[in-house]
């Protein structure tokens, strides 16, 4: 067995013990307030760095949570404002587009954890802090506007999102100023809005929002599904309008409203007030 380190006799060990006991007793017999003050000073040396670091990281985590909540509230208000503006426009025009005011659903904040930078990257991975009852086709938005839709659910807290730049993406849109309807589709590196008649009133800079019309497609399970985006979410602004002589529809190019980057907060719009309500609203 290894004995005491060289140079430390049993008497030396006892002396160290006596010193420690003495120091402890001095601390114990200090008056109440002095004891707390001494603890505070000693803590400032021994444990303050640790607590500073820990509080910093705790703050980071809680700030992200609070930020998500605030962004969600803000975006909800913006959506309500947009919906109210649409209704007012409908009333001013004297005729709406005969669509239901889509329910905004529940906004579940998520973080973009993977965003490939490749030219052909059309997907991002998002992570939710809480398990969500998400499914394919649910719309994904950020504060600027529409981003894409849930493509593949990896797990209760992770999913891959197909961006609007994906080749087979299609979205029913509406010109906010006039109430005209159209279909947005990507064309290479730009977006085009089709199905708008050549005589319709479309101007450069017009705001384009989602129309709430769902394009149904056959999914691999053999069922029909589509992007269930509520009406009124900003999609972009008209960049250019052309009217070819031999076409019945306008050629409308769109500047998308939303871009997303890594570590950004995005929102999945959960469709119904089901179990997702609790999860989405949980702080």
């Amino acid at each position: 067995m290894r004995e005491a380190p060289a140079g430390i006799s049993q008497r030396g060990e006892l002396a160290v013990l006596a010193l420690c006991i003495l120091l402890s007793l001095i601390l114990i017999v200090l008056p109440g307030d002095s004891r707390i003050l001494v603890a505070d000073r000693v803590g400032g040396v021994l444990t303050a760095p640790y607590w500073s670091a820990r509080n910093f990281f705790d703050d980071m985590v809680s700030l992200r949570e609070q930020n998500n909540g605030l962004r969600r509230e803000l975006f909800s208000l913006e959506l309500e404002t947009a919906a109210a503006r649409l209704r007012r426009h409908d009333e001013q025009r004297g005729a709406g587009c005969a669509l239901e005011q889509g329910a905004h659903g529940l906004l579940a904040p998520c973080r973009v954890t993977t965003r490939l930078r490749g030219r052909f990257a059309t997907m991002i991975k998002i992570t939710s802090p809480h398990p969500l009852p998400w499914r394919s086709w649910q719309p994904v938005v950020n504060r600027q506007g529409m981003i894409g839709r849930i493509r593949t659910v990896v797990g209760p807290t992770e999913a891959w999102v197909e961006l609007m730049t994906a080749p087979d993406f299609a979205l029913g849109v509406e010109f906010e100023r006039t109430g005209l309807l159209g279909v947005l589709q990507p064309r290479g590196d730009r977006f085009e809005i089709g199905m708008v008649g050549r005589d319709e009133d479309v101007r450069r800079g017009d705001l384009v929002v989602t129309s709430g019309i769902t394009e149904l497609r056959d999914d691999p399970a053999g069922e029909q599904a589509g992007l269930d985006a509520p009406r009124g979410i900003p999609v972009g602004r008209v960049r250019s309008v052309h009217v070819p002589n031999d076409e019945v529809f306008k050629e409308i190019s769109l500047e998308p409203a939303a871009v997303c980057d890594r570590n950004e907060t995005v929102f999945v719009i959960l469709s119904a007030p089901d179990e997702g309500a609790t999860a989405a609203r949980r702080p």
Partner: protein, 163 residues
Amino acid sequence: MRDFLRINVFWFLIAFVGGVLAAPLLEIHGVAPDFPVISLVVLALAAGSYPATIGGFLLGLVMDLSIPTLLGVQALIDSCLGYGLGRLRTRLAYGMPLVEATVVIMAVLAHDLVFLLVRNATGGEPFLWLFLTHSVPTALYSGLVAVPVLRLAVWLGLLYRED
């Protein structure tokens, strides 16, 4: 010198990283292993009375900082505990997990016994109830967790064996 550093880094990691990160993860119904005491046992068995006395004092002092009204109590307890464990080191049957676990269990119980008695004397808290419902499960859990920790220390060559 190298052994001195390794031992100190190891017990420091067990005490603080274990206490801060591992203990909350291992907590069962409010009972978590007492990593500071486990680390003190490791230090005492690895380095002897002299370092364990000082280590125990510092460890107890840091723990006291969270209860300033009892400043010095755990420093006193852990100093004595470190000294006693260091002295015990030469009398233990090494390499037997049951023995090492028993040492940890006894150390946790001794620490809590004195601490709760002092706290009972100053604050009038129910000593026996706390000791039975908190200290005993903590001691058993700590003994269980200490076995792999001490095996790791042996594997790292921190606990010296000559037989």
